[in-house]
C-alpha cells in the first residue's frame, strides 16, 4: 500500500513540477503582461494544487494534511486575486494612455 501512495506522490508532484516549468517558460517567453499572467496563474493554481495533492499521502497525520489543504486554499485565493489585480492595473494603464 505504501508503494501505491509513493507512486501517487511521484506522479502528482512531477505533474505539478511540469506545470510550474511550463508556467516559468511562459513567463519568460510570452510577449506582454496579460499573456505572461496567463502562464503564471496556470502554474500557480494547477501546479501547486497537484503538488499539494501529491504531498497529502506523505503527511504524518491528519492535522498536517489539513494544514496542507488550508495552505492550498489560501494560495489559490491569493493567486487568483493578485492575478486579477495585476490584470486590472494593466488594463487601466493601457486605456488611460
Amino acid at each position: 500500500m505504501t508503494m501505491f501512495w509513493d507512486a501517487m506522490t511521484i506522479v502528482f508532484v512531477s505533474t505539478g513540477v511540469f506545470f510550474f516549468l511550463a508556467g516559468t517558460v511562459g513567463l519568460l517567453r510570452f510577449p506582454d503582461t496579460l499573456t505572461r499572467l496567463h502562464a503564471l496563474t496556470k502554474a500557480d493554481t494547477l501546479g501547486f494544487g497537484l503538488i499539494a495533492i501529491g504531498l497529502l499521502p506523505q503527511s504524518a497525520d491528519v492535522r498536517v494534511g489539513l494544514k496542507l489543504l488550508v495552505i492550498w486554499l489560501i494560495l489559490q485565493f491569493a493567486g487568483a486575486c493578485s492575478g486579477q489585480l495585476i490584470a486590472q492595473f494593466e488594463h487601466r494603464s493601457r486605456h488611460s494612455s
Binding site: F77, Q84, L85, Q88
Partner: protein, 310 residues
Amino acid sequence: MSMLPDLLLVMLVLGAALWTVAARDRRSSVIGFIALGLLLALVWMRLYAVDVALTEAAVGGGATGLLLLRACARLDSIDAGKPSAGRTLQLLIGFCCAAMGVGIAAAALGGPDLPPTLAPAVAANIDAVGLGNPVTVVLLAYRAIDTLLEKIVLIAALVGVWSLAPDDVWGGPPASLKLAKASEPLTFLAQILPPVGFVIGVYLIWNGADEPGGTFQGGTVLAAMWLLVMLAGLAEPPETRRALLQYLVVFGPAVFLISGFSGFWLAEGFLSYPTGFAKTMIVALEVALALSIAVIVAMMLAGPSARTPR
C-alpha cells in the same frame, strides 16, 4: 546530488543581491530586495532555522519591502527633476558599503572552525523555563534584555516616522492608503482574507511558545491584515494623536518593563521570572508584545500624519 538545490539557491540569492545593487531605478531595486528577502527565508529553512525563516519572510521580505516601496513613492514626488548625488559621493557610499561587506565576510570566515556556542547550555536548561521552542526561551528568558531593547527601538522608529509630519497636520491621520480608483478584486480580498489572516497571526503568536513562530511573525501578519483593509479603503488610518493608539504602541514594552522590574521582588532580579510561572508570564508577554508590534508595524507603513486632525 543533494548539494544541487542548495547551490542553485545560493546562486539565486547572489543573483537577486546583484540585481538589487545594479538596478538602475529605485523601484526595481526594491523589488529585487523583496525577492532577496523571500530567497533568504528559503535559505534559513534549509538551515533548519524556521523561526528566522518566518521572520525574514514576514519582516525582511514583506514589511520592509512595503516600507521601502512607500519611501520610493514619497521620494519620487520630492526629488523629481533634481540631480542625483555627485559621482564622488556615490563612489564614497559604494566604497563604505564594500568595506562593510568585506569586514563582515572576514569576521565570518576568519573565526575559529567551531565557533563557541551556548546551544548545549540552552538545551540542558530548557526544562527550567517550561517552553518547547528554544528560540523563544533564548529571546524571552536568557536574552530578554535584548528583546526588550529591540521593542523600544521599534517605538523609536515609529516616533521617527511620525516626526516627518509637518506642524499643521501634527496628530492627524496618515494619508489615506486607498487607491484613486476602487479595485473590486482588492476589496474582495480585504473582505475575505482578514479573518483567516487574523487566525493565522494569533496561531503564530500562540505557537511561538513550543513551535516555530512568535511575536514578530504573528504581529506582522496582523499588521498586514490591517493594512490590507486600509489599502482597500474599507477603513481609514486612525489619527496619530488618538490616546488608544498611543497606549497600544507602548503597551507591550510597558508590560515587559513592569514584569522585568517585578523580577526584583518576585524572582532573582531584573527580567527574571518566578519559578513555576515562567511559561505563563512569557506567553502573556508575547501576547502583549505582538499586539504592540502589530500596531507599530502597521502605523510605520501607513506613514506620518498628512491630514489635519478633526
